[in-house]
Symmetry: C2
Subunit: 680 residues, 2 copies
């Protein structure tokens, strides 16, 4: 009696004996090895490529001979001549086992492959797609055994893929008959599972083998901007990234003003819902065009957003979010179809997943940051700050995670700033002030040179110097403090007090002139006392939120800080700390996570397991409500000073010494901390 050949798969290490002549794909399936296939082993989809390894493998206890697999067959020859098969590769459905063999499944042949994320910290995400393709050969109709075409598709899926039961998106049913006939009873279907245990849902079908791929959108729906990543649902690759302004801005800059608009104007919420859905349609069409794909192939979309955007997206009046107890209509993840959501640029059957919210002011965007940054898996205590119009703040380690949201307002994004503008060519994005001469130098978006370097003025001639963006204003305020032109209370000194004419009178206060473009017809760009106050309000809110979480956790310091948000990437850690935006920590312990919310959306888009993970995670996060916590006001007032009225900043002090100055002559300033503030 001979023994069947041994087949060992790497990297899984799964092994088993199979009769001579068993196709490699069959062996893989029987062992539960993750080897992709769309055509079900018919040699046409090429998803099941494997690499046999030859030679001696003492680790596995086998020697693999050159004839361990069958020779190339006609199917492989044809595929190679038409599409080209990489050297050493075989089609797993064609190559059959002849002798003991070690078979490597390359990442691109795995359904649950790992995808390297582009974020600053290069982590990987594991594909666990909700929607997958299946090629089937369907029986033709028979008058003597009448069954519907759909029922025969279901029968084919049962016989050819072992899928016992399916449900069907109604709109897909309507198009099924011509597709079956065009494909001569061979079609590819897309099945969506809301969960690995759920009955798969037929959401799309194409004639023959569908080779144009299927795609998903990961959308970070912010108060100010909407950012989308178009992602290949098979490979996880980002095909295009695009953004668009949130048109709801015309109803109010910040969240509370939008809630107010809904409260004051009958139909106002509906109007805002319509506006954002139209913008999403535009964005979908644009991003599909940019990637050169048919928007009809976008079968999934994941949304992350704050609670007000969440409700307005879903067509829920956000009025309850404007008043205590800030009750969400729903906090769990929401699953629905594009048709239900009224998104017309997507196929009606496209599945939408909206991440769960954490609390009335801590939304699905915060959940996405938690999914991306995983504070609950950090050994040291990490503070994650997602800076936007509203700041999402998470504090945690493996013991416990806390979260809150803080109404920073739009100042960090360059709004409500006298010379503020959004980050676009011509905007000052970085600035340094010489502590001795008090003269500034700066860099503008679209030019890598500093303003005191040769060639700068030629390079910026076309865009001009148009304003100052979010990161620019933060640096400017911090630099004013470092250069001794602004005192800890936030007062800008006069020319006499500071010894520079750049500190010019501006009514009863002073402003610092960064650049005077008036000779060339451009703007005079200054930092005014009002700008300082706006930044103070924003940074105090951010710091107070972080402190509230630290109080709740019973700590005075954190081990490290992660700055997230599109804008986090552009903030210098030193300047953020001079300003007192974040608690004192060693500068090398401040890192940027890029757009963590967007990354969280991408992770959820590519993985059902990740969706289940964040759904569980949000229930374990302790929510802290800043709006009703008296200590928030105390922390807020104390954080008004730059960097802080009372908290020591020893790590900051070891890096930079801040001049001890005071410009208070009793005639202005100092009221900032007591202004009424609006959430947003």
């Amino acid at each position: 009696m001979t023994t069947d050949p041994l087949v060992i798969f790497t990297p899984s290490g799964k092994r088993g004996r199979f009769p001579v002549g068993t196709p490699v794909l069959t062996a893989a399936r029987q062992l539960g090895v993750d080897l992709d296939s769309v055509c079900g082993g018919r040699g046409i989809c090429s998803k099941c490529q494997i690499t046999p390894a030859y030679g001696d493998f003492p680790k596995h206890g086998v020697q693999v001979a050159e004839d361990a697999l069958s020779g190339w067959n006609a199917v492989e020859e044809r595929y190679d001549s038409k599409r080209g098969l990489k050297t050493g590769r075989r089609l797993g459905c064609q190559a059959t086992v002849q002798r003991d063999v070690v078979i490597d499944v390359p990442p691109e042949s795995q359904v649950h492959r790992q995808v390297v994320r582009k974020a600053a910290a290069a982590r990987t995400l594991q594909m666990d797609p909700a929607t997958r393709l299946y090629y089937v050969e369907v029986d033709q109709p028979d008058m003597h055994e009448p069954t519907g075409d759909l029922e025969r598709v279901a029968r084919a899926l049962r016989a050819q893929w072992g899928i016992e039961e399916i449900s069907t998106e109604f709109s897909t049913l309507a198009g099924l008959q011509p597709i079956l006939r065009k494909g001569d009873w061979r079609i590819t279907v897309a099945l969506h599972k809301s969960d690995n245990s759920a009955i798969p849902r037929l959401v799309a079908a194409w004639p023959g083998l569908h080779e144009a791929g299927i795609y998903g959108l990961a959308i970070d729906l912010g108060s100010t901007t909407i950012a989308a990543h178009l992602t290949d649902l098979d490979t996880g690759a980002v095909m295009a990234s695009s953004g668009i302004m949130n048109p709801q801005i015309r109803f109010g800059e910040d969240l509370m003003s939008r809630v107010s608009y809904a409260m004051m104007n009958p139909g106002g919420a509906t109007e805002m819902t319509r506006a954002v859905r139209e913008a999403l349609d535009t964005l979908t069409i644009e991003i599909a065009a940019e990637a050169g794909i048919d928007a009809g192939l976008i079968l999934e979309t994941v949304f992350v957003c704050n609670p007000v955007m969440h409700h307005l997206l879903l067509g829920i009046d956000p009025v309850e979010l404007g008043q205590a107890p800030f009750a969400l209509a729903t906090s769990d993840a929401v699953t629905l179809s594009a048709r239900e959501l009224g998104l017309t640029a997507l196929p009606g059957a496209a599945q939408i997943y909206v991440l769960p919210c954490i609390a009335g002011h801590v939304g699905a965007d915060a959940a996405a940051v938690a999914l991306s940054e995983q504070p609950g898996k950090s050994e040291d205590l990490v503070l994650v700050v997602d800076v936007g119009t509203n700041a999402e703040i998470l504090l945690g380690d493996t013991t416990r995670v806390l979260a809150c949201s803080s109404p920073t307002g739009p100042a960090f994004e360059g709004a409500q700033i006298s010379s503020g503008q959004r980050a676009a060519p011509g905007a000052i994005e970085a600035i340094r002030i010489d502590p001795v001469t008090k003269e500034p130098r700066f860099r503008v978006i679209g030019c890598d040179l500093w303003s005191d370097q040769d060639g700068f003025w030629q390079e910026v001639a076309q865009t001009g110097i148009t304003g100052i963006c979010g990161s620019g204003i933060i640096e400017a305020v911090a630099e004013l403090r470092i250069a001794g032109l602004m005192d800890p209370s936030g007062l800008i000194g006069s020319a006499a007090q500071t010894g520079t004419d750049r500190c010019e009178a501006d009514g009863r206060t002073h402003a610092y002139l960064i650049h005077d473009g008036s000779a060339e017809g451009g703007p005079r760009i200054t930092v005014t006392q009002g700008d300082i106050r706006a930044i103070q309000l924003a940074k105090s809110a951010l710091y107070a939120g972080a402190r509230l979480l630290m109080d709740e956790r019973g700590v005075d310091r954190v081990d490290r800080v992660v700055l997230a948000g599109a804008f986090g990437a552009h903030i210098s850690a030193l300047h953020a700390m001079v300003l007192g935006m974040i608690p004192d920590v060693a500068l090398d312990k401040v890192s940027s996570a890029g757009n963590a919310a967007g990354t969280g959306a991408r992770i959820a888009l590519c993985s059902l397991a990740a969706r289940r993970e964040i759904e569980r995670m949000v229930h374990r996060i302790t929510k802290v409500e800043t709006a009703i916590e008296p200590r928030f006001q105390e922390h807020f007032v104390a954080a008004n000073a730059i960097p802080h009225a009372t908290d020591p900043f020893p790590e900051l002090a070891s890096q930079v010494s801040l001049p001890v100055v005071s410009f208070n002559t009793g005639s202005g300033g100092g009221e900032g901390g007591r202004r009424r503030r609006r959430r947003g």
Copy 2:
């Protein structure tokens, strides 16, 4: 040790012992007794009314004392004073068990109550509603334990009703917050289950206890007319019945002409889909108004229809149904929402159920007839004929059921008849011809008198005599045969041949004058040779279909015949048999089932169990395709003669002797059986 009191429920006979003080509702629930409750035992919905029985019950082995239940409490006093409690009734949630007791649950307190159907054969249907109401008291939001309002509704359903999990119709979610607040955190929700084992779906919510009921539509969507029954989903009572013409008639009278329209005109199918959906919206608004209920309370709709109507309703191009192999897009039952179906008069979340089809030409209407008439449960061999523009024919007994569809065309409905009209006041619906004088007498819709009775002409003066409807033309043709004015081949004799001037020349053929209204400006109503031919085509198709099933079953005769269809009720069995519409059978074995398809729709509307039953049943029915069966043509040609060229009609002969006449002079007629026919 004392023994707990014994509680016996009738009619179920369920019994058990419960501690003194147990509410009757609690005892019923623990025993699984079918006792309704919407408010969950709070004494506000009054659904759980029961009748205690007092005295000696030797059958049950108990004596029930007057104090077996607790005395009336304040809740019952209040309810009785406000609404009135029937004598002897108690509220099951308030009355508590004190001593041994026998408790009757009246039908109206049972969820699964039986409802007597109005059809000719008084059968009952058992309520097993898919949508039910639940009153819940919901926790208010708590900032310190933030959860969404929806999640707290789910929690309340879990705690108060033991419903572990729900899903939510997205449109219901959007309206939930104001409803919760309006109801002061007490609401009634409607939960829909597609199956008794399915996760219930939240499809509607109202503040407080919802007392206005919930409703369903049972719709028989025919080629010519759309008929709807508005039904109370709690009691099964029909609140209103209404009908509307199918506006698709403008695209073609019969099914095949509509399929042709779709094939010849790009967008034609979509146009017909839009037309029928608009008509359904109109019908919904009208029927709700007629019943005086809010259309927003119609939470379910069941459709029965032939395959072409089925596809056009669902927005599926019916082109495949126009050619062999007549492949349905889907044959199984279809479940979807009103929003998906584009029905705007219903709430978007309203659930739609379309019965399964049996085959490409045997639709959900035939399935509904099978559900209503249950040929598979008949001990004797029954032929069920649903007469419409298309006839659905079922033949079966407990052994086996066969089904086919036969293209009778619209002649039976008065269309394609020279003086034909639909059944409306003024239409001749019955006619008798004196065999001696050859003079007709008739009755018209809207008047109970015959035309030879006193007062007839006064009574019909207002409507006039406008035409002849379906049952009228059938009787007219049969009476012409009985009176010897028409020969077995269908030829009308001349005045000379018949001896009456009412047989007048009409081109190369003859017509029989029923009524000349021209003196009063009304129409001359005649039966023309063309009318006879149209009826011959229709009746031959019907008979041939029945014979095909009898061949398949291997029988020459059936035990009984059920005439279904709105119109079946109006056909005299004798006249139908003289015409040879149905096989020869004793006249008392011919019964009418009224609108069996509509009844089947009502049964499915009220019962999940019935939906599962018909879904199983259609798979067991043998389908016979008339369009491709050569014997159908043979049977069709042989059935052209009146009553039949070859089949003996002994039962008919025992009732009436048909004159042996022949009017064939070689100059016309006789071509009827060989005309090309169109399905429809």
